[in-house]
């Protein structure tokens, strides 16, 4: 496993003045991530996993929090709430075995929609993926998720209907000018 990418930790100020921190996830985030997922509306969970997630299993949270920072990178966005930090959003990519392309996923707490958190997370994720030498970022978005589609288009993603399943849209963005993978 790669070392904790400390350099990806960064504080941000939102338009409304609140400050948040984006940082790579840690295995210790197990409990906060469970709380974060449990607090999500059914709609938000459905958008993220594209199925019903009643109560996230330990296995799922383990998968989400115990990442190798290399093929699988996850960033969380935290905000100060009383005397502790709470997770208000997370974004991740998982690269393919050739290290060329990656799939992205993002979800933001319902109360933090339209706060700018999603944009900050995506920007950080794209930056990290570029740095990692990935050539493309891809994803599947529900066709009915108009808000997400608008959001990723504004970030320069191409969107097209998934030919095999019209309930989904494929989104993709070229990250590097050259498609050659960088040696690592």
């Amino acid at each position: 496993m790669a070392e904790y990418p400390e350099h990806l930790v960064r504080a941000h100020r939102l338009i409304d003045g609140r400050t948040v921190t984006v940082r790579p996830i840690r295995p210790e985030d197990f409990a906060p991530v469970r709380e974060f997922l449990n607090e999500l509306s059914g709609e938000s969970k459905y958008m993220r996993f594209q199925k019903w997630v009643h109560a996230p299993s330990d296995q799922l949270i383990h998968f989400l929090t115990d990442v190798d920072y290399d093929r699988h990178l996850a960033l969380v966005c935290t905000a100060r709430s009383g005397d502790r930090d709470e997770i208000v959003g997370e974004a991740r990519y998982v690269a393919d075995s050739q290290g060329r392309t990656c799939e992205l996923g993002i979800v933001v707490a319902d109360a933090w929609h339209k706060s700018g958190v999603a944009g900050i997370l995506m920007e950080a994720l794209i930056h990290a993926a570029r740095e990692r030498g990935l050539a493309r970022m891809e994803g599947l978005v529900l066709s009915s998720n108009a808000e997400m589609l608008r959001f990723v288009r504004a970030l320069g993603f191409e969107t097209e209907p998934a030919p095999e399943d019209r309930t989904l849209m494929r989104i993709s963005k070229v990250l590097q000018d050259s498609s050659a993978p960088q040696a690592r």
């Binding site: 509306s41 059914g42 709609e43 459905y46 993220r48 996993f49 594209q50 199925k51 019903w52 009643h54 299993s57 799922l60 998968f63 989400l64 991740r92 990519y93 998982v94 393919d96 799939e103 992205l104 996923g105 994803g139 599947l140 529900l142 066709s143 009915s144 108009a146 589609l149 608008r150 969107t159 095999e164 399943d165 019209r166 309930t167 849209m169």
Partner: protein, 562 residues
Amino acid sequence: MKRIWLDSYPQGVPAEIDARAYTSLNELLERSCSRFRDGTALSNMGVSVTYAELEGLSRAFAAYLRKVLGLRKGERVAIVLPNLLQYPVALFGALRAGMTVVNVNPLYTASELRHQLADSGAAAIVVLENFARTVQEALPDTAIRFVLTTQVGDLFPPPRRWLVNFAVKYAKRMVPRWFIPGAVQFREALARGAGQSLDDPGLGRGDIAFLQYTGGTTGVAKGAILTHGNMVANVEQVAAWAAATLKEGREIVITALPLYHVFALTANLLVFVKLGGENVLVTNPRDIGGFVAELGKTRFTAMTGVNTLFNALLNAPGFEAVAAASRGTLKLAVAGGMAVQRSVAERWRNATGVPLVEGYGLTEASPNVCANRFDAGEFTGKLGLPLPSTEVAILGDDGREVALGEIGEIGVRGPQVMRGYWNAPEETAKAFTADGWLKTGDMGRIDERGYVEFSDRKKDVVVVSGFKAYPTEIEDVAMLHPGVKDAGAVGVPDERSGEVVALFVVRKDPALTAEALLAHCAKHLTGYKQPRRIEFREQLPKTPIGKILRRVLKEEASRLRG
């Protein structure tokens, strides 16, 4: 977009209807009751009710709700009945009292019913005794203050009433034991209401007539708010489309689809009441032998159904003779709710001599949006032309209209489109584009003649014989079982129902059987939502970041069936 479909309209069908023809459904009913007094409005199991009788019965029920129970205008009344004479009486009674009707599938499980009652805030409920046990279980956590129960034969004349009620309760044992303190019998309510006067609740087009529940992708059903204005408009739209075919005071329509479904509610009950026609209420069309026998005794002129129902009739022994006998009398057969198979349409035409005309709609549009021409010679395989005063557009992902002929999401505007979802402003906002198009969740295109064609579904929904089942709701129920770790539901093609639900399950308890899980699902889900097949897997197919791949599950499920 220019309304190019107008050029394909049959002669005599206007581009616009008069959406102000009636101020409310009450006025529509009352006008028909005075114009067609002695005409038969309803019949069920051989017993008929005239328009004058329907007026009196619904007035008595309205007066009971208003005067005896003291319910106020705008309160909700839930109706949990199959197609019986009591249904229109309760429905028009509630509307005439100024209440909003919440139509409930009587086959709902207690948890499904509880959600609908709690969400709608219904104050009163009318239920057939056969389903009273479910109501009893669902009552806690709801705002129901009054329960009215009825028996199958309650509006039959004696001795038929006593015989039928006795047979249902004791001989056939179709009534599970129930006890609801304070429940009042429907007959008693009518008797007490009959002595009361009824004041006009003073309804307008903006008052809510129905909260019509429909599923949602995130698992809970939402109530589409359908106003008197919406419903009157849709009745006028369908009536205008049918004007050349259907004649006032002369039609007999077979109402075999349940009236709690908005299609039969509008296309059969309301349209034919406007026309002064007779609704033949078929209580249990699943008893196909009894249904065919009933058809054999009726000189019906029109019928509505879903593909599944027409197919079942065509395959039923004895239907051939009934179909042959209906030649010359039957004028119209309309199918909605689900795609019509060409083979069924062709067999229907050969058997009866009339085409099976496909229509398209959705709960949120009261429901009729498109229909094929009633004088169509051939089965078109299309959803049809937008009805008068209806606009249909094909929308791109940005919510803007795409070029003619291109595929996109079907959007609808018109006076029949709902106001929104009950108590769900966010869901309501998502249902419409900025330009006010209702997003149907269906993908399609408009051809150069203005016919709307269906291509695919945008929403993740399984349509079982015209009923929408959402995978998330089924997954939610499956995962309530302690032996289930993960579950994925998909729709698979089915000869009979169009589609059925297949469920893939990852077990937590290795001893869990498909039978046990099916029994669990049956406890929480009404029939059409229940999985027809359960497959156990070590894991579900997912993308690297953990999104389920339903397409892979669908392919697997189709292979397993093939």
